[in-house]
Symmetry: D4
Subunit: 251 residues, 8 copies
């Protein structure tokens, strides 16, 4: 329940269109609704500006559908991350209006609308073709949260001129998400070219001494550029969420 | 090299004014000559909005003083990080106008002025008394870059009510830096209470299975709150720099 | 061998009734013969207060059934842990009176009865929906050992108010088991609120820098609250067993 | 905020006595205002049953003395852990009534009194001579918290008969703390002999593949005995604190 | 597009056989061709002397085929690495002229020709039978890049005389690739016998403390012979590529 | 090349019978030609006393059968380790006289005969039921190499009296192999009871912080008993082989 | 107290030269003498064939001297390991008959005598000059336990011919100790040349990816030769002890 | 002793200017000279083209001087690496003709001469000021081995245009050594710009998640450019040696 919906409800009470009992009923669960297997944090929209996002991994389709059903009473948009194709199919059967983003392995329910509080552009850059799913997860998340997003894929440091062709786009960005596996060098190079904040996302792409993304992660934490902060391996969702938080900050 | 220039070159070849060998030589390097040209009319302070910061560790006082001398011709403020007390003393002998921040182990030369482009407040929170040096490094860096900074120290998760007393301050922040060692749990709790971006700084405080800050680092990367990104262990400077970049973004 | 027996033996030597070689043979092993004697009048259930629990992983259904058959002659309750659904089915075919707890992946045979020596309540708290199986393993183990158990699921630190709603329950607990994956911050927060002992159980829930539960484990070992001790990753059984040992101690 | 208060507020809105904006403001923070309220009538000593303990490492003698001075107004006993000999000397100059425990590197101020709520005995066992400082830290902590403590030192598994001579003592313990470095095998053997809870403390004693105590730590987490939980490497204080929490639980 | 092809095109323009527009069309993509999921670095042949090599892992057959199609316009040889048998089959259906090397899991399209600039011999030595796939990947890569290659398999250090039988071959090599798993000792021994550079390739062969090749990797990095440098675990391709770069250097 | 040969060569040079170039060529390689000569009159079975053992993992049944066929001409017994059941079946189809040891995952071809040079007894002890396959691999290997072997299974340290019942057997052993997973404590306890050498074999049994056997491995390397040496995780074969080497040594 | 001394005492009792009370007094402490800071395991000589060895690290000179005094009543030889030069000096002041071995950092008290039960030769081989201290510790330990020892230093694998010159010595050895740091390859090569058991000792010599000896340790555990077992990093004492146990086994 | 010196000696024998006995005396130690603490590999110059290099760490000045004295009879140039200033001073007292390179911590004795077999240029590039000592060690080693060397320092990836200014120099190199700490990204970028082989040297510069150079090491092993191979952390000497081996190869 966002602030706008809350005020609408209260105006209904003030104007006599909603009874106190009905309003109380709606409001009494906003802090925390306890269903059998989850405590849904409905209060989060008010506190954080965006509803709780469902982490799909390790939940059954039934559990996800159950949580979505409860949330639909309060929220205008619902995101589910880390959804395998078969789970995605099951969820879409229950909610045909939802969309399954195959690359990013996400389900999006509700209408994505630009948020006027987010004036800047979020630019998402990925190093290799194999990093695209994580980059897409970041981009969809940021878009779902109301940001304008532009993406550039496959511009790794082994051919540095490919990246430099996008210098103008990088300079106009309000925040840049850089997604890279293997040696994870791209965020340092990008952050050296701009003054805006860079969110670095290591991916598990690579083999041997890439340690499932750990080398990229540590490399990014040691960036010799200082306008860089890092999220967990393959955490495109977190990067998009953080970018959205940044794109609104300071206003 | 744009399409027009390319055709001009090819017309030169077609008309016999340019030899095949000269044209081949020109074309062999087009991507990087563009790059080389680009770097002529850009220098670092324009690109990044703040002069290079001197990493004091592993440099002799003489080296640091030499670099500072050259920078003073161009810059209004100079920061040196990771300066031991004896190095600090040597630098201050050379530049009596500089200040040595003992806690933060930094030298600051020049006048710190508020930057009107940075309208929000940077809040720096630390978990324990021993985390204060890193928190101070973050705070001084952000201030030196023109931000308004407020600090709250010693509000770890073992007494959660201490933290909650600062809810109003946290809500007004444009960006929050959270500094913590040991289990590194504080950023998750803070980020769960606000919608602004949180920069988490793990510290090397702890012993045994704290692994010099690694446990705090990994803990922060696994935050169940999504508006969190992480910098390197004890990297207060980087957190302050990143916070400053965020506080200007979107404008 | 006490002092009296020793002197008797030596008197035998002095009187010529015991040869030097026989005496030497007797004396060579006194430390461990004492030990060997001790184990004759002690058997495991007397020593530990609960029968051996069968670790189901890596054993065939036939091996498990065979061990259960022998134990049924002596024991009133039998627990089998880490039982996959197909093994569970095979065991229930052999012993229809047994119960297969799907979530917790356990088989329980025999009647669970409250043990009057265990007066307090064991409270089991889990951070996320995905941590429930481990939490359930802990709860069932503690119940099977005669304890009163209450459970609270899905109250992670990203929404701290969800946890605080259970403050009264936590305060009445004799011992609290806290189950969490990802950053593993929940035990610190819970232990900061109560004076009773907290058993922390890291789970393998998470990805990337969660390292299959290692980050949660290390985080818990570094808890800034002191009334916390930790068991192995995903070891719900061990936590329940330890909690039961604690709930009887001191009486 | 209970249901009644909520309806009162809504009636205010319905009756025009409360503006929609004011009501929205109140409702936006209900969860955390509850929390904030809670912390007003609870302070730490009531909540945890023992005053905060000062972690001496990384604090100057001046800082420690300052904290002790403030605590003396409220508390009857003060513990400081990880105090080097020279810091200890400085503290004792300020508070001649305090005692510096050299082995355990602790300062104790105030009178240690038996707590009648702690009826059982805490037994502290260590594997080698070099583990004694950690064992002493555990023993002094438990004593300072009001427990009866007995200690057995240097009974490692390479001479198992030395340990077995203390079987009676182990059986009467309410909780046993086992301190060991190197391969960390002692807690498994002790826990296999008793039904009471065992707190295992790995120490950093050893070299090479002991990894500063990590091998002992992991060994203890993998104990094939189930009545074992583990604290951080060299964390004698935590073990004593946890043992004290256990020794009171269930009452 | 290599230098020879470029000059042919420019001669066509100079001679009037190719229009400026057609030449411009061909050349405008040489720096970087952007297809939906990849930025193909056609400029690489000019810059690096060999076209971009396609890393097959994590790409669909459709993606690989799409990239190959674009590359065929510009290149004479195309390599695809880490191709599973089923992907290999799909690619060969699209391009029947391509060859699938089963052992090495590579696809090679185009004609392999000796490069006269590479006068020396690349010798590939492997320690065990299980290391052969990686050794084959190295050998095929070096051959595809125009080098003369000789291979010696299964000459590990447990029977040192087997290796010594190949001393003459090793001495004539321009560069030696040594492939080994387990303890990774072979490169040290080989490098101790020759003066030419040795490229060491650790493989993931082994179990337990081999850590998927990490022990071999670290062992090779610690070689007490100095003419050794190391590539990533199982990176036969990189070793072959590096050997080829070495075999041309200095000319 | 001894001093006499060296002088003969130099006399040849002095007398003009050997050219300087030929002499230089001879001298350049003296060390390694000695080596090459040495390997001619030694072959492996003479050197090591037992034929090469085939490591089955990563080899196809066809490869294994091919190697066995060649070995049968020279050897009386052939061992193949790490053979999966389906590979075992394929091998037995080719050689019906061979035996597949299911537990130990080994194929044995040829007659096992006691070797009179190995007078002592090899005792194999394992901690848990799940460690039996590794223990069996050790026992079969030692038997195949001509040793008398006795086995004791499931005597872990959580019930120390079970082990102590086998004291007489342990004391008569010439060498003891101790197989254990989880905390790996058993070798320390066994070695503390006897004077004979103990070969410790860590197994990958366990979960969480057992790290696939690494904790047991490190624990064993830190044994506080000194008559212990360790082989790789799950390396029952190596333990059996080493025990056999020991059982013959000193004769 | 060894078996011989025990029989002498008993013969004294049998012959009337020793009273029963005096004998009882002597014998009642043989299993375990409790001094303030150590439980001395006097029974060990009987059980293990060699008295307890004092681990000097982490003990004060006073503690070491105290333990030695108690042991001198029962033992003919005493070893102290890991003794720094200043501790060595203090010990020699107390016991002028003791010898301090500087390289090996050991104190030896008592007469070293060949033990006729140890017929074979222990050969100690080290890879580099820096490995000599560990090799010396192994050699002195084995000698002190009654073995004939020969040493070969500085024959690493980078110049394999240096090692092969000692082939005859290696072949006559009853057991070989191989000491190596860096890549730890030497034990594999040595074990490939002989049939006797090889005890591999990794040393902490090296830098970077040698990880203080861990790479050598893992390398040795992965030896492709099977007659190899490994002790802890820098554990020369353990290797000498194990070699001595092997050199007596089977008799 | 290099090939030239050997032929001079033999010509002396052939011409009657050197007696057979004197020549034999000189030659009899070339394979291996055994001094008390080292086996000097004089044969190495013939086998490897450069004499053994003395690793100074862990050797006393006396040991180093002793080895140098023996080598001076056979060699024209001697290198000692990892020499601390005080050891350097001691060595220079013994050999005033030697030079101590402070930055690189090396001693060089003898005349450095260009080797005509090494026609190309070795370029050494370092990322930061703190990486210079390692870069200097590489440069001096390569020069001492007869190569032409050029160096470029402080051109890290955070300001990519600084590097691109050296494109012409990089393109003319026969082999490039790239030295970098922190995230270790520089070798990927350099190798992406050239076709020559790149030797990457990780340094221990950095803090926190740089793990003493391990992050840079792993980053370099995962380079997305393929003409890269890696040496150990801080191993400037090895990089210079390998570069020299490459610069001669193929001739």
């Amino acid at each position: 329940m966002d602030l706008e919906s809350l005020k609408t409800l209260l105006n209904g009470v003030a104007g006599g269109n909603v009874t106190v009992d009905n309003a109380a009923e709606s409001l009494k669960t906003i802090a925390c609704e306890d269903i059998e297997f989850a405590h849904i944090d409905h209060h989060r929209s008010l506190r954080k500006g965006f509803p709780e996002v469902i982490f799909g991994e390790g939940k059954t389709p039934e559990q996800i559908i159950g949580i979505m059903e409860r949330m639909m009473n309060h929220e205008k948009i619902i995101l589910v991350t880390r959804v395998s194709p078969d789970k995605g199919e099951a969820i879409l059967s229950a909610f045909p209006a939802a969309v399954y983003e195959k690359d990013a392995r996400m389900v999006v329910w509700g209408e994505i609308k630009a948020d006027p509080a987010r004036k800047g552009t979020v630019v998402v850059i990925s190093a290799g073709t194999s990093d695209i799913p994580v980059a897409r997860e970041a981009a969809i998340t940021a878009e779902a949260m109301g940001n304008t997003v532009e993406t550039v894929f496959d511009v790794g440091v082994a051919g540095i001129h490919r990246l430099l062709g996008y210098k103008a786009l990088m300079e106009k960005a309000s925040v840049i998400i850089v997604v890279a596996g293997m040696e994870g060098a791209l965020p340092s190079v990008v952050a050296g070219l701009v003054s805006s904040p860079v969110i670095a996302v290591p991916t598990s792409i690579g083999y041997g001494a890439s340690f499932g993304g750990l080398t990229a992660l540590f490399s990014m934490l040691n960036s010799c550029s200082s306008n860089v902060a890092v999220v967990n391996i393959d955490n495109g969702f977190g990067a998009g969420y953080m970018a959205s938080a940044i794109n609104r900050s300071g206003n």
